[in-house]
């Protein structure tokens, strides 16, 4: 098992590299592979700071940031989904379960409704992030009992907060008038029109969250065997759960606040990776990171090319392609699937 896990973990980064390279080569506008290589080479060496021909602009300012953002968002959602499923000991949990994403959506909706210039700059992602943190704070307060964080109360608090905030968003949309379309597009989620700035905006949260999760992966494994056993083995159970909740929420907040709600990735990729690599979070977290990144880059490449020059929302593609793939995995491996 150990050998297989290491093999999978060494193949995934290679696959990710292949996915990124292929994705950069495909788009609504055909650019020959050699030229793509030349443009990116020039960009990396710094000799090409100002794009002058359309192909350079398309590769450097449209395609490349979108693909990298797609990888980061996919990795974020999958990583956060894995953490929430483990923390809440619930196979149906995903990054959106405990209301952090609803908080982000309320923040973004409020910005669109109340701030006339909301669409410019980074106002919407920043408001979304603030909303996510606020929702996390409320869930945390509602869910904690005497300084502890029982799984059931956290889950219920999350579901309640999430439902309430959903109602707030629906109401906001009804009152939105002309802004309704913008709110709709935000909620539907997507990776287009984001550019480099957004990538820089969320990378720090992703890295911090990732490091915390990796550091706590072993303790999470022990907690999943039983909180009392973990305690007797010296795991600081409550502290671990608290930090995993915060880290996964930070990652989710960053992802949702720049890309809206892209469904499916955070629910299914963690399970797919669990089928492939097993339930040990020390391996599962990195596998989920790469798996989610590859999955979203691949589905977004499909979304932006299949009816080019038009596009379809990537959320439709993630569910459309992801569900059958997951069914296939589950049918092949269901006997030995362990949560």
């Amino acid at each position: 098992m150990r050998g297989k896990r290491l093999l999978v973990l060494s193949i995934l980064p290679l696959l990710a590299a292949v996915a990124l390279v292929v994705a950069v080569g495909i788009g609504a506008v055909a650019v020959p592979p050699l030229e793509v290589a030349k443009i990116i080479g020039g960009f990396l060496r710094g000799t090409l700071s100002q794009p002058s021909i359309p192909a350079e602009t398309i590769i450097l300012q449209v395609r490349l940031p979108r693909i990298l953002l797609g990888f980061l968002i996919g990795a974020s959602l999958s990583l956060a989904g894995t953490a929430f499923q483990g923390l809440l000991q619930n196979p149906l949990a995903d990054p959106y379960t405990i209301g952090v994403s609803s908080g982000a959506a309320v923040g973004a909706t409020a910005a669109l409704l109340l701030i006339p210039e909301a669409s410019s700059g980074f106002i919407i992602p920043l408001c979304g992030f603030a909303g996510a943190l606020l929702a996390l704070f409320i869930v945390y307060k509602l869910g904690s009992v005497g300084g502890r964080l029982p799984v059931v109360t956290v889950l219920l608090a999350g579901v309640v907060v999430s439902s309430f905030l959903s109602a707030v968003i629906s109401l906001g949309m009804l009152l939105a008038g002309e802004q309704m379309r913008n709110i709709f597009f935000w909620l539907a989620g997507g990776l287009g029109q984001r550019g480099w700035g957004y990538l820089a905006l969320i990378t720090p949260y992703f890295i911090v969250g990732l490091l915390v999760l990796l550091y706590l992966a072993r303790d999470l494994n022990l907690i999943l065997l039983g909180e009392e056993d973990a305690l007797s083995l010296g795991v600081e159970v409550e502290r671990t759960k608290r930090w995993i909740l915060v880290a996964a929420s930070l990652i989710t907040a960053g992802a949702v606040s720049v890309s809206g709600l892209i469904g499916f990735v955070g629910l299914i990729v963690p399970h797919a990776m669990r089928i492939i690599i097993g339930p040990d979070h020390r391996y599962l977290f990195p596998a989920a990171l790469f798996g989610g990144g590859i999955f979203l880059v691949a589905t977004d490449t499909f979304a932006r090319t299949v009816i080019a020059p038009a596009e379809i929302p990537v959320g439709i593609v993630t569910a459309f392609l992801g569900a059958p793939f997951f069914v296939y995995l589950l049918r092949r491996h269901r006997e030995k699937y362990r949560f």
Binding site: G27, A28, V29, P51, S52, I53, P54, T57, I58, Q61, V62, R63, Y96, S101, S102, A105, S119, S120, G121, S162, S166, I169, S170, M173, L174, G177, M180, R181, N182, F184, F185, W186, L187, A188, G189, G190, G192, Q193, G195, L261, I262, G263, R304, A308, P309, A310, E311, I312, G315
Partner: protein, 290 residues
Amino acid sequence: MMKRYWLPVLVLMISMMLLLPAGCGVAEKGSGEDGEQLRIASVMPSNTEILFALGLGDAVVGVTDFCNYPPELAGAVEDGSIKSIGDSFNLNEELLVSLEPDLVLFGFASDAIENLDNLGIKTEVIAPTSLEETYASIRRIGELTASEAAAEKLASDMEAAIEAIREKAAALPEENKPRVLMLLDLDSLYVAGAGTLEDELIAAAGGINMVDEEQYAQLSEEALIEGNPDIIVCTFPLKERILSEKEGWKNLNAVMNEAIYDLDGDLLNRPGPRLAQGLELLYGIFYPGQ
């Protein structure tokens, strides 16, 4: 989470798309066949505009929140002589019935139509999607309100104004025609493609619509950059944002020549009498000073 919003959002979006070409309803106090004053409600802004342009403003008893023209409408809604019956997605049917309209003009199929039919209130769906259909719907509203003469004049004046510009544009050399992008939204890059009213206006004003896709479509940013439009027309203010945010668009002809125009979208996608003004604006942008 997305699933939770998906259904209501989809319903709203679809009803919005259906709404686009239609107008608000207006009830009118024009005279019907029996000499009584008509009471008309309009559930679509374009139909509201047509009614007012036919001089039937006094017959209008109900409009929607989306009906924003002509200017005197706002005052009439303010002082209560015309009632707002909702925002087209959420019609207040009770209020609508209480206005006792003789005629309700819809801009899209609605469940309310059957209910009104059962109450014996006359309804009609007027939803033009082209210039020809717009002229026809003006004439049809004329028939429904016993204002045939006014309608004939409005429709033929509008057609004459539009044809005059079309002829002027047609006489200009093909190679000077600008490639035009009609942008409806910047975050999703929703654009007007072939077969839309905007597309018809671009062509009539002597431009070439950069977008070949049918109907309204979400354009890939890559295709936009490669397409390199000479002129970008926005149906609501986007120029500032394009210039300040869109690094990748810097080398587009439209951006380098500052040929980005924020126009009133109601003149371009609302199938009413003001389309002629919209066309004139486009022609002025495409061929300044001619």
